[in-house]
């Protein structure tokens, strides 16, 4: 019996208890907060029913960080924020301090270390992104790279609160869309059916499973030069890429054919209007590393049209609902095409069955 050979058995801790890692003031006032305001961009001020006050300084991170960057954040936390920090659902970092005058030194040190302070209130927060070429096995483009390119141009909107309401941007590096819905979403859009590598299929793919994966039943089993393979009805195929993850030989990507599409008006919150999905506004943009200039240009035209025209508290989609889609396309200089008319299941619901017209 070679017990020694057996690897260590894991302790199934599950979700770690956060209290040992929570700033003392937060722990003490857990569940007893009264109100909050925002003294300046990047800073939140929360007041507890106990009278305790806490100031939160929020800063942007690259999300995927090297240990030295993380250690730098630790140094800052130890020096200015009692040795604690938390990360937000958008990968920003937050440091809590116990007095208003403790915010400035913290902010300065963050800025020095290259972490922009902001992302609060009606600003553009961190852009959600995914894995892309760095790590995923099916990406059509990069993720962090696109975000980096955009954030360089939109830095001011992160560090200032000049938007009508918060702006949430998100990217996804394939049409599966691990990124969320967004006020502005930058997603991959395939334009060609998969190119099948018949030699490989036989070995690697569980064919029935792949056939079953297609939303429009465009894949059928077939014998190709003697070997069992698959074939695609290219008339039916709408290039969604769903068959690619389970079957890598069905290559959906192409350096030219993989395009970028931009969507607007996604909203998760229930504030005022119900949550919504984002809507397609432009597709066919080139997948153009390292800086995706065509994408950046469209994003900016949308963002600044919103910034100039929307009213306080209007999210991107709510602004467009008020001014109407015709004016949105006019203001952004984008084209409205037949492809904007939804023809997927339930698409008829999206037709304007009323005399409500925007002029």
């Amino acid at each position: 019996m070679n017990k020694a050979a057996l690897p260590r058995r894991a302790d199934e801790h599950g979700v770690p208890d956060p209290f040992p890692h929570m700033h003392p003031l937060l722990r003490q006032n857990y569940g007893n907060w009264d109100w909050h305001d925002r003294p300046r961009p990047g800073v939140l001020h929360h007041v507890a029913k106990s009278g305790d006050e806490v100031w939160t300084v929020r800063a942007g991170t690259q999300r995927q960080m090297g240990v030295h960057a993380i250690r730098k954040l630790c140094d800052i936390a130890d020096e200015f924020a009692d040795g604690f920090m938390r990360f937000t659902s958008r990968s920003n970092v937050e440091f809590m301090v116990t007095a208003a005058d403790k915010t400035q030194p913290l902010i300065s040190s963050l800025n020095e270390a290259g972490f922009p302070v902001g992302g609060t209130g009606n600003s553009l927060s961190m852009i959600n992104h995914t894995q892309g070429w760095l790590h995923c096995d099916i990406p059509g483009t990069d993720a962090s790279g696109v975000v980096k390119a955009l954030m360089d141009e939109l830095h001011h909107e992160f560090t200032h609160e000049e938007m009508p309401n918060r702006v949430r941007m998100t990217t996804s590096c394939c049409q599966i869309n691990c990124g969320g819905q967004g006020d502005i979403a930058i997603n991959v859009q395939y334009t060609k059916p998969p190119k099948i590598n018949h030699d490989l299929i036989a070995n690697v793919c569980e064919r029935p499973a792949v056939v079953a994966r297609c939303p429009v039943a465009a894949i059928r089993p077939a014998m190709v030069n003697g070997k069992p393979s698959l074939e695609i009805d290219e008339k039916k195929c709408m290039c969604c890429g769903a068959c690619y993850p389970p079957c890598p030989p069905m290559q959906i990507n192409g350096p030219e054919s993989t395009k970028i599409a931009i969507w607007v008006g996604g909203k998760h919150s229930n504030a005022r209007s119900k949550p919504t999905f984002h809507k397609l506004v432009v597709a066919g943009l080139p997948n153009n590393p390292p800086r995706w200039p065509e994408v950046a240009e469209v994003v900016k035209s949308i963002l600044y049209a919103y910034k100039d025209d929307a009213r306080a508290w209007e999210r991107m989609g709510e602004w467009i609902d008020r001014i109407g889609w015709p004016r949105f396309f006019e203001m952004t200089g984008l084209a409205f095409t037949r492809h904007h008319i939804d023809d997927w299941h339930g698409g008829r619901e999206s037709l304007n069955a009323s005399a409500h017209i925007h002029f």
Binding site: F336, N352, A353
Partner: protein
């Protein structure tokens, strides 16, 4: 009625009511259809033969003639009295004013008398309405005749379209029924959007006409809170704001012409001056695919000059031609649009896509966009040429 013995139709009505009584007892209907028509026309008569004729012989045949009323359903007593005389002579004396589609329904006539009745009605200037797979009798709201909200001449549009397509009404040859309806403004007093294949709704392009003094009077009368709660908060697109001096701030670019604020303040507000129509297509009721409302096909078409009317007429003809050639048997145009997709329908009738046709662009990424640039170019070309006009 069954009681005024003197009348020729007395027995017919007695038996009709007898059969109806019987239906009440058995909770069962006893009419079956058939084919009856007048010379030269294929439709307009709804034939009814009783399944219990032996018990109610005098109403064994009880056909209905669908006759088109004057547009807007205006009548001189002279016309109505003549209608009564004719129906007293040839029919049951029972007249419906009006059917849900807008016909005068002369109900209750023997096969033998149908032609006679029609001849006399036709002689006083009335004509057959629609039935079967055909263009149907239309309806237009009172509009211009007595309504300050009316944005176009409903009578002219109604008569121009229908009278131009009479052959489709009188000689049924369409895949299925087709209905036009005309409302002078978005209040849609003839239910055109739900109940017609082709709904013509009056609207305007410029700004709502405001008399700020009258606005103040209104606020003074009802109070601020009331004004906010019944007008300001009811605007579907938050286009209204109440100024601190009790005048009204209207963001006309956000206004969607719903009519509400104008409806509440009939003296202070009225539709703009640059008027025309919004056209929706595809409304119908439940059969087969469930109820459909019409959806926007023409966001705006001016409708004031002769050219404007000619353009509307042309569109009506184009759509009827498309429908005649492409709809499946017993398919309403709304079903056709659902089947082939709005974009293809638009291409077929030669109308450009417009964002006003949708509540919002697609939310699904399941679409092929290979030809995005060509499609986009069409839009830019249009905008360009529009700009150069």
């Amino acid at each position: 009625m069954a009681t005024d013995e003197s009348k020729p139709y007395a027995n017919m009505m007695t038996d009709l009511l007898g059969q109806l009584e019987h239906s009440y007892e058995t909770r069962t209907g006893y009419w079956k259809g058939g084919t009856v028509s007048v010379f030269g026309y294929g439709g307009g008569v709804i034939p009814r033969f009783s399944e219990v004729a032996e018990d109610y012989p005098d109403s064994s045949e009880f056909h209905t003639l669908r006759i088109q009323p004057p547009a807007g359903m205006h009548y001189s007593t002279d016309l109505l009295r003549k209608m009564c005389d004719i129906w007293e002579e040839h029919g049951s004396g029972l007249i419906a004013l009006h059917g849900q589609s807008g016909d005068i329904m002369f109900q209750g006539c023997t096969t033998e008398n149908v032609q006679k009745a029609f001849d006399d009605l036709n002689k006083i200037g009335l004509d057959m309405g629609g039935a079967g797979p055909a263009l149907r009798t239309s309806m237009s709201c009172v509009g211009h005749a007595r309504c300050e909200q009316s944005c176009y001449d409903e009578v002219r549009a109604h008569r121009m379209i229908i009278n131009g397509l009479l052959d489709e009404m009188h000689r049924p040859a369409l895949p299925y029924k087709f209905k036009f309806k005309f409302s002078g403004c978005p209040n849609d007093c003839v239910n055109a959007i739900h109940r017609s294949d082709f709904a013509v709704i009056g609207t305007w392009r410029d700004e709502i006409q405001v008399d700020q003094e009258k606005v103040k009077e209104h606020v003074a009368r009802v109070g601020r809170k009331q004004m906010i709660d019944t007008v300001i908060t009811r605007c579907p697109t938050r286009a209204l704001s109440l100024n601190d001096d009790d005048t009204l701030d209207i963001d006309n670019k956000s206004c969607v012409r719903c009519m509400h604020c104008i409806n509440v303040m009939t003296k202070a507000l009225s539709p703009g001056k640059d008027r025309g129509v919004t056209i929706l297509m595809g409304g119908k009721r439940s059969l087969k695919i469930g109820d459909l409302m019409g959806s926007v096909i023409i966001p705006f078409m001016p409708l004031e000059s002769d050219e404007d009317f000619a353009q509307l007429n042309e569109l009506g003809e184009t759509v009827i031609d498309f429908f005649a050639e492409n709809a499946l048997e017993h398919e309403r145009v709304g079903e056709t649009i659902t089947r082939i997709g709005l974009a293809n329908f638009l291409a077929a009738i030669g109308v450009d896509v417009d964002p006003n046709m949708v509540n919002h662009p697609r939310t699904s990424s399941y679409v092929r966009t290979d030809d995005w640039d060509e499609e986009a170019q069409k839009w830019f070309d249009r905008k360009g040429s529009a700009a150069n006009e």
